[in-house]
Symmetry: D2
Subunit: 357 residues, 4 copies
C-alpha cells in the first residue's frame, strides 16, 4: 500500500506530518495529487481543540492539484488535468442540495439536511494538507483551472474568496450601498473585495492591524477604522452622515464584532455573518429596535461546487480582484508544522501561507 | 374649538377617556371620523409603561372610519368615503420609503431613516381610539373600503393581518414548506393564515390556550402543540420527521419563543420575528451551528400604505381568510377603560375587541 | 433478454405498443416497474411529428412505480419502495444544475448547458409508457411516495402539477395579486391551483370548454371567461376595474393566448409562459409600451428532482389541492393506442388518462 | 409675467428656442433654475414625431440646477441648494409607487397604474431644456448635489446612468456572469459600467462605431464586437466557449439587436431590454427553445426618485465609474437648435451634449 505525507490531527495542540496510505477511490470519486494548499483559521480552531474532529484525520480544505485518477463513473474530466475543488463539496443529489442549500448537505435525516454537512474535507473525511486527496462526488466538485492561472492565483478560490464574497452576496449588496466589514483577516479582505464587486460605493473596514488595513484599502475599502482608536459605532455613524450602513459583514466570530455590526446598521439593514462563533451571542434589544427595525441577520457557510469555483476563477482571470497580497508566506509540506506555528500565532504579518508538497 | 372623546395615556397604568380638540388638518392630511377601532397588545405595553409615549397622547393605530375632511392638496378621495389606513403611515417620499423600507420612515437623519418612524398613530402623533383621527400623507395611506365589507371585516387589516402575513412573507414561505408559529394570539393566528396563503403544507401552531389552538386549526394550522405538555423542540422535530422547519415565526417577543424558533429550523431555514422584545435576546451557539448553518433571522414592522391595505381587503373579500373569530368582544368608546381592563388581563378568552364611538 | 411492453414512436402519426428489452441499468440508475403513468399534450406533439424524437423511442415522462432494482452506487432507497420521478431528471452535478437551472441540464457544451437537456424521459432516453423504466441519476430523482397516497393521487406530480405551479412561482404571485390563466387544460388548471396556493385573491381562467371552466372554479378560479363570447382583453380589464393583472399565465402555446396575456397585464406585470410554441411569437409594440412598461416575460420548463416531488406530494397530502377531477379516463397499457386516439382528439371531455400496465 | 427661454416642440422636425412664462408652482412643487441639462435620444424621437407629445411642450428630462423656490409644503430642502431630479419623477403616493413600480406611476385608473406615467418632464409636463423647471412632488424627487461634484459629473444621473445601470440590475447580473450589451450609445455604455459594477467578469459590447467601442473598453468591456465584421451570434458563442451569456442587454430598440440578444443567451438566461421600440418585435421560436428554455425577458423604464439619485451620485463620488468621456460637446441654451442638429445626426462622434443656460 503506497504511502504519502499528510498533516494529521493527533490531539489538542498537535497536528503533525505523518505517513498515511494514499486514499482509495470509489466510482464517483477522484484522486487529486495536491500541488498547492493552505492553512485556514478554522484549521487553527481544530488544532486548539475548539472545533472537534476525529483523531488521525488529515486536515485542510483548500486543494489545488492535478487529477491522478478518476472513478469509473466520473465523466467530463481527464487524468492529468489541473483542478481545484471547493472547501465545501456538495453531492448535488441530496434534499439539501436540491432545496438550494448545498452547504448543509447530508444523509443524516430522511430528508437530508445536516448542519455544515457539505463541509467534508478535513472535517468529515481526510483533507488537503497531504500529497493526495480523495474528492467525493467529483463531477459536482472538480473544476478545471484555466492554463493562464497559477496555483497561487486560484488558491483562495476554494474557501477564502468563496466565503468572503458570500458575505456581500447574502447581504444583497446593491449599487450605491454603504458596507462595513468587521475584521480584516483573509475572509474580511475578500468580503471587502466582494462588496466592491457588487457595487458598494462606501466600504468601511474595521481592524487594528495597520498592514491589514492597508491591504483593505488596496482591495476596495474607502475608509478604514481602527477599533482601538475610536468609538467604532459613533465613528461609523459619523462617516455615513448619520444614515448607518446598508450591510454590515461580520468576519471574525466574536460578540463585539457581531454587536458592532448590528449597531451600525440603518433600520432595514442586513448583518451578514461569516464568523465561526465559539460562544452564545447576544442581540441587544436597543440595537434590534425591540424587534421593530426590519433588520435581517444572515449567516453563510462557504458555497462550493464546480460552478462556484468556475465563477471565482473567472473573477481572478478578469483581474478585477487581485489576491496576490494575501499569500504572505510559502512553505513545503515537509515544513507544515512550522507553518502552523507561524500561522496560529499570526506572526510576521502573515495572512495566508502557501503549502507545496 | 369642538371637542371629541379620546383614549389618552396619562401615566403608567392609566389610560383614560378624555375630551380633546378635534384635530386640525394640513394640506396633505385627512380627518377621519372613526367608526370602529380596536386595542392592540402594543397599547397594553404603553399602558404599562413598557413602551414610552408622551403623556396626553391619544392611543390606538387601527382605524376604520369615514372621511370627514380632506386637506387642500389631497386628490383621489372624497369626503364621506369609508376608508381604512394602516397602523404604519409612510410618507411615500422619504429616503427610507424610496429605499424599500417604508416602515422605517422619517426625517431624523439627513438621509431619512428613523427606526420605527413609520409608526405614527398612537406613538408619534395622536391615534385612533377617539372620535376623530388626523391621517398624515393621506394620499399614500387612505384606502377605500369596498361596499360589501363591514367595518369588523376590515378591522384587522391595519395591523394584525398586515403584521401576521408579513411574518410569512418575510420568511419567504414557499409551496410545500413546513412553518411553525410560536404564540397564537391575533398576530400569530394571522401568521398561520399567511403561511397557508403562501402555500405552506405543514403549519404547526404552538401555544397553551386551547381556545387559541382551536382557532389556529380553523385558520390553517395542520398541527398544534401545547408547550406546557411536551418538549416543544423534540416534538416538532418528530412531527417533521427529523427535517425541521423551513420557516419559524416568532409572534410573542420572548427569549423562550425566539430560541425555540431557532432550534426547530432546518439548516438554511429562516426565523421570521414579529414579536416586540423588552429585553436582550440570546442566540445559543449550538442552535446557530456556530454561525455555519446558513440560518436567517429577519424582523418586520407591520407594512402600511394604501396598496397594502387594498391587498389585505382583497384577501378578506375573496373569503380565503376568515378573521371573524378574532373579534371576541365589542365595546363602545365610552367604555374603553373597561375594554382595556379586559384586554390587558386577557380575560374571558379575549382575542380582539371592537370599539365603536 | 427479458422483454416488456412499451409505447414506441414509429413514425409521424404512429405510436404503437411493442415489445422491447427491459432496460439495463448502470451504477447510478434505478429500474422502476411502472404501476401508473399517463399521456401528456407533449406526447401528442411527438405523435404528430411536431416535436422530433428518434424512431423507436419509448414515449412518456410521468412515472409512478416500484423500485425493481437499484444501481450499485445508489444509496438511500430500497428495492420494493413505491416512488415517483419528475418528468425532468436533472443530474444534480452539471454546471446548469449548480447554476440554479436544472431543467437545462446537459453535457453538450464545456460548461454544461443544453436547452431542455433535463427532459430525458421520452425525449432523449426511453420513457415511462412501458412496463419498466430506467431512471438516471436515481439519487437526485427518485422520491418515495407516502403510504397513504394512491398512485392516481401522485400521478400529476411529475409534470402537470410541477409545471402548472411553476407558472405561478416564476410569475412571483403575491398575496392579493390578480392572476389570469389562459387555457384551462391540465397545466392551466394546475396554474390556477398554484396561483391560489401562493395567495392570489382574484384568479381569472380563460377557455371556452364549459367542463374545464367548471373544474377551474373548483380549483380556485374566482372568474372564468369564455374567449368565444367576449372581447377577452376588454372583459378582463373591466373585471379588474381597469387595473389589469399582476401576473398572466400562458398555458397553451399560441400567439393569441400569448398576446392576450401581455395585453391584460398592468404596467410592471409579469407574463409567465408555460406553453410549447410551434411558431414565432410577436410582441405587439403597443402591448409592450414600446419597451418602457417594466414588463417581464418569463418561460419555464417543468422543475424536477426529488425535493420538488417531495413538496408536491406534501401539497397532495395536505389536501389543499385536489387533482382527482383531472383523471377522467383509465386504460390498461395494452390499450394505450386507444388512449392516444381519445386523448389526441380531446374526445369525451378528457383531461388526463391514467395508464396501468 | 416673467419669461424664460425654453426648447419647445412645435411640430414634427421642429424644436425651437422660444419664450415661455416661468412656471408657477404649487404647494408640493419646487422651481429649479437649470444650470446644466442635455439632450436624449428620446428627444430626437420626439423631434421626428416618432413619439407623440403636445405641441408647445418644453422638451428635456435631465435637469441639474439650483432651487429657486419651494412650494409651501415642501420640507427638507432650502432655496439656493444645488440639486438634480430624475428623468422619472414618481409621486411616492400612487398605488404604482407603493406596489414597487414607481416608473409606472399615475392617476389614470382607480388603482393608479399608467404605463410610463412616471415620466413627466418633457412628456406630460414641461421639461428641463429651459431656464426654469417645475419639479412635481419635490420631496420625493429633489436630491442635493454633494459640493465636490460638478454639474457635468452628475448630468448623466437623471437618465443615462439610471437607465443603463438598471439594465444590469433588472438582469440580476451576478459575480462571474458573462454579459453582452447590444449598442454602445450612452445608455449601452452605462449598461457596460453597470454590469461591471455588479460583478460581471466577461462583458461583451456590440456596436460598429470604433470610438464607442473604445469608450466601452474604458468603461469595463472585456471584449468588443463589430456587428458589421462578424456573425455576431456565432462570434459571441465562440467567445463564451459555447456557453452563451448569462445576461444580454438590449440598448437600442430594434428587432435585430433584440433577436441577437435572445440568441446569445444560455438557457435560463435573461434578456434585459432598455431600448425604445417603434414597431412590433418577433421572438423566433428556435431562439426561445419553443418556450422551454427558462428564458426571461425583462424591460425597464429609467428608475427615478431622490434615493436613486443619491445612490448614483455616490457612484460618481466613489470614482468607480467615470462618465466624463460621455460629454463630448457643449452648447449654450441659446444654441440648442444647433445642438439638436448635431445630436440628431450623430455628427462628430457625439455621445452627450451639455447645455447651459
Amino acid at each position: 500500500m503506497p504511502l504519502m505525507k499528510a498533516a494529521v490531527f493527533v490531539e489538542k495542540n498537535r497536528i503533525i506530518l505523518a505517513d498515511k496510505p494514499i486514499p482509495d477511490i470509489g466510482p464517483l470519486d477522484a484522486l487529486i495529487r495536491i500541488t498547492t494548499t493552505t492553512l485556514c483559521g478554522t484549521d487553527v480552531h481544530i488544532l486548539r481543540g475548539e472545533y472537534p474532529v476525529e483523531k488521525g484525520l488529515t486536515i485542510g480544505h483548500e486543494p489545488v492539484g492535478v487529477i491522478e485518477k478518476l472513478g469509473s463513473q466520473v465523466k467530463g474530466f481527464s487524468e492529468g488535468q489541473r483542478v481545484i475543488a471547493g472547501a465545501i463539496t456538495p453531492s448535488g443529489h441530496s434534499f439539501a442540495c436540491l432545496c438550494g442549500c448545498a452547504s448543509q448537505d447530508g444523509p443524516d435525516t430522511p430528508h437530508g439536511f445536516r448542519a455544515t454537512g457539505g463541509w467534508k474535507f478535513g472535517n468529515l473525511i481526510d483533507g488537503s494538507q497531504a500529497e493526495y486527496l480523495r474528492v467525493p462526488d467529483a463531477m459536482a466538485n472538480l473544476c478545471a483551472i484555466p492554463d493562464h492561472l497559477s496555483d497561487e492565483q486560484v488558491l483562495m478560490c476554494p474557501d477564502i474568496m468563496s466565503t468572503g464574497f458570500s458575505g456581500a452576496e447574502r447581504g444583497d449588496v446593491k449599487i450605491g450601498d454603504t458596507v462595513v466589514v468587521f475584521a480584516l483577516g483573509p475572509i474580511g479582505l475578500c468580503a471587502v473585495a466582494g462588496a466592491r464587486l457588487k457595487g458598494a460605493t462606501s466600504i468601511i473596514g474595521v481592524d487594528t492591524v495597520p498592514a491589514r488595513m492597508n491591504v483593505a484599502r488596496s482591495m476596495g475599502a474607502t475608509h478604514v477604522v481602527d477599533f482601538k482608536q475610536v468609538d467604532v459605532v459613533a465613528h461609523i455613524m459619523a462617516i455615513t452622515g448619520g444614515r448607518g450602513a446598508d450591510v454590515a459583514i461580520e468576519a471574525l466570530g466574536t460578540q463585539a464584532t457581531f454587536e458592532w455590526a448590528l449597531r451600525v446598521l440603518r433600520p432595514g439593514g442586513t448583518l451578514s455573518s461569516l464568523g465561526v462563533y465559539s460562544s452564545d451571542l447576544t442581540i441587544p434589544v436597543t440595537a434590534f429596535a425591540a424587534g421593530l427595525g426590519d433588520y435581517s441577520i444572515v449567516s453563510t457557510l462557504c458555497p462550493g461546487g464546480k460552478e462556484r469555483m468556475r465563477r471565482l476563477m473567472e473573477v481572478v482571470s478578469s483581474g478585477s480582484v487581485d489576491l496576490k497580497p494575501l499569500v504572505t508566506h510559502r512553505f513545503k509540506l515537509d515544513d507544515i508544522e512550522a507553518a502552523y506555528e507561524l500561522f496560529a500565532h499570526q506572526r510576521d504579518g502573515v495572512l495566508k501561507v502557501a503549502i507545496t508538497p
